[in-house]
């Protein structure tokens, strides 16, 4: 969290400007309609910084990661990585170079490792594809280093195993080792601990924090858990129904949230220390359909403070100063 200090000297690791992503529906009945997965998404991830993208399922956070990783291309808006605007790849070399820079850690440690390959063959691939190893001995040394830095040692012991011989936590560590093997500058982590047993989650989170310090990478950390976001990241962006509702330094956003949805999310999160007599939720309902999103502010049907104008136009992401921006008419008062 102290690492955001000298950010001004370097260009931002990642910048999104009004990025839009829609998925057209293919059925005849829904002809012409689309899922509005990302709408007007803008944020900056400083070099060496960490930003948590928090939201419930269907909020568009995984789509955002996939668009940044360029697993699919955005419909409009700008994506700038290390000061360079992303353009269509002209050849495989460009695509590889981008993927070396921007790496993704998937949520499911069980589905993201090929069950028929040994850990060695899984971990070798990034080195071979990106041509990062200088001969056999060098590859061997790099494999060992990759595993040891995620706490899997002795490396030889793990290299000959298959994924099913490892626990969920160990598999996720292999995933993380694979991610860091190519020395990325931006790591997109999509709920990396949500499928792990609770007692081992902190171990993986701490290891990710240590790796970030040592490698100087930038993290975009996707989670539905506000407390986990606070533990991991210096800044936080809360998404709802495909849009960013509030963004700013983590402590500020959590301590005094401005957007009614962020307040709702905070009041719903488990927090034993805030006492057993908590205030009841002041809103109900669930994330709306993204095929026909509500007009105006997407949160207005659930918002306890909604006014007529909230139905009419989507509020701007207003700048409150201090790095905080909020998409709500209340913030403008």
């Amino acid at each position: 969290m102290s690492d955001e200090r000298d950010a001004a000297a370097r260009p931002a690791a990642l910048e999104l400007r009004s990025v839009v992503k829609r998925f057209p529906l293919r059925s005849l009945a829904a002809y012409g309609k689309a899922v509005h997965a990302m709408d007007d998404v803008s944020f900056v991830l400083e070099a060496g910084g960490s930003l948590a993208l928090v939201g419930e399922s269907g909020s568009g956070k995984t789509t955002t990661a996939s668009v940044i990783a360029r697993l699919y291309e955005r419909d409009s808006g700008d994506l700038v990585v290390d000061g360079e605007p992303a353009r269509p790849f002209r050849n495989r070399a460009e695509s590889l170079a981008y993927k070396k820079k921007v790496q993704l850690i998937f949520q499911d440690p069980f589905g993201s490792l090929n069950p028929t390959h040994t850990i060695r063959s899984i971990l070798e691939r990034p080195f071979l594809i990106h041509g990062l190893a200088d001969g056999k001995a060098d590859l061997e040394a790099r494999l060992s280093e990759a595993l040891e830095q995620v706490g899997l040692s002795p490396a030889a012991e793990y290299l000959r195993r298959f994924p099913h011989e490892l626990s969920g936590g160990q598999r996720q560590r292999v995933n993380i080792a694979r991610t860091f093997a190519v020395e990325p500058s931006i790591v997109l982590a999509d709920e990396p601990t949500s499928m792990l047993d609770v007692s081992i989650r902190m171990g993986v989170m701490n290891m990710m924090l240590d790796l970030k310090e040592r490698k100087g990478v930038s993290y975009l950390y996707i989670t539905h858990d506000l407390a986990g976001a606070r533990y991991m990241c210096g800044s936080i962006a809360v998404m709802y129904a495909g849009m960013i509702m509030e963004i700013g330094p983590t402590e500020d956003v959590i301590r005094d949230a401005v957007h009614p949805y962020v307040k709702l999310l905070k009041s719903a999160s488990p927090s034993p220390e805030s006492g057993l007599a908590r205030a009841p939720l002041d809103a109900s309902g669930e994330i709306p359909s993204l095929i026909d999103p509500p007009s105006g502010c997407r949160f207005h049907p659930r918002c306890p403070y909604a006014e007529p104008r909230c139905r009419e136009a989507v509020p701007e992401l207003a700048d409150l100063g201090g790095g905080r921006r909020v998409r709500c008419v209340l913030a403008l008062r």
Binding site: D197, G203, L265, S267, E286
Partner: protein, 335 residues
């Protein structure tokens, strides 16, 4: 005694597998008062679901209760003939299953599924059954016109509320919930929990709420039981357990949930992984992962629950305060 809803006595239950017998619940005892909310927390494979299924007498064919008693309002469920258990199930004790999303029959309407449950246990007319269904749906804030809806037309939170309505339709005295909110988003999870609390104070049933999410349980439970590798390792009032855990595993679990509003500090979770129940480690099963373990912990029998202060039980023979760095208790027990 009239106040005791359920008493579990030295329950041992497990599964016959190709590799041998896995004792998933090992010597578990606790009692539940009328109207009490008991939370049971533990990681996957700790035996918490097996315990729930054993109480409901719903264990699979390859599973069995080896020994121990399950006294439901004074009657032992273990040796009870199946027909008598059928009469108790749903009417007196009901269960909400883990995957509510898939627990509803996709080809039957919500109304048919709710009234089915009524007809199976009561001889009432179709209109009466439907009236009961409407009443229950209203209690969980679902409009009566949803009776004609099919599960795919409902959101995840609504399906879970239908499951709760279905479990409560015959006004049982004991409700067992196995990870009822795990697949749901936090806001929906919170609204479901508020609903359960409201219904409990209205209808007065007891709840056993099983989950891996200890941070949630601390807020909603009267009592808490912590399970590890088939054993109950700590039991006591929820607030006391949170403020001053007595068992190192409880402390480790508390140390696995970062705080939302408290001071930000490094948390370590727990090293290592849960043991294989086919060959559990000797002595205390938690010893291989315990930061306070001494040589004596890894020999002999696994220690059982013993009194540890007011209304509290812990399976660790060593008091928490006497440990090297004081653990969480030294920091006021805050998460």
């Amino acid at each position: 005694m009239g106040d005791t809803m359920l008493e579990v006595r030295n329950l041992r239950a497990g599964y016959a597998t190709a590799k041998g017998f896995v004792r998933a619940v090992d010597d578990v005892s606790f009692s539940l008062r009328r109207g009490e909310f008991l939370g049971i927390a533990g990681e996957s494979g700790c035996g918490k679901s097996t315990l729930a299924y054993a109480i409901m007498r719903l264990l699979r064919d390859n599973a069995r209760v080896e020994s121990g008693g399950l006294l439901f309002k004074g009657r032992d469920l273990v040796p009870m003939p199946a027909a008598e258990v059928d009469a108790l199930r749903w009417t007196d004790m009901a269960m909400v299953f883990q995957s509510a999303m898939n627990a509803l029959n996709p080809v039957l309407s919500i109304g048919e599924q709710l009234t089915d449950a009524v007809h199976a246990h009561r001889s009432v007319s179709r209109d009466e059954a439907e009236a009961m269904a409407v009443e229950m749906l209203a209690l969980v804030d679902i409009n009566a016109d949803r009776l004609r809806s099919y599960p795919h037309q409902l959101s995840g939170g609504m399906k879970q509320r239908v499951m709760i309505a279905m479990a409560l339709i015959l006004k049982p005295e004991l409700l067992i919930m196995d990870e009822p909110t795990t697949a749901l988003d936090v806001v929906v999870q919170r609204s479901i929990i508020e609903k359960i609390e409201e219904l409990r104070s209205r209808l007065g049933f007891s709840v056993i709420f099983i989950t891996h999410d200890l941070s949630l349980l601390v807020e909603i439970s009267d009592s808490l039981g912590i399970m590890y590798a088939g054993r109950m390792v700590e039991y006591g009032p929820a607030a006391a357990l949170f403020n001053e855990p007595r068992h190192p595993y409880t402390e480790g679990l508390m140390n696995s949930f970062p705080s939302l509003t408290g001071p930000l500090r490094r948390m370590d979770g727990i090293e290592g992984r849960t043991p294989d129940l086919l060959s559990p480690p000797p002595g205390c099963r938690y010893a291989p992962r315990c930061r306070y373990a001494r040589p004596a912990c890894s020999v002999g029998d696994c220690p059982g629950l013993a009194p540890s202060g007011e209304g509290r039980l812990s399976a660790c023979p060593y008091p928490m305060g006497g440990r090297p760095d004081g653990g969480v208790a030294g920091e006021g027990g805050r998460l």
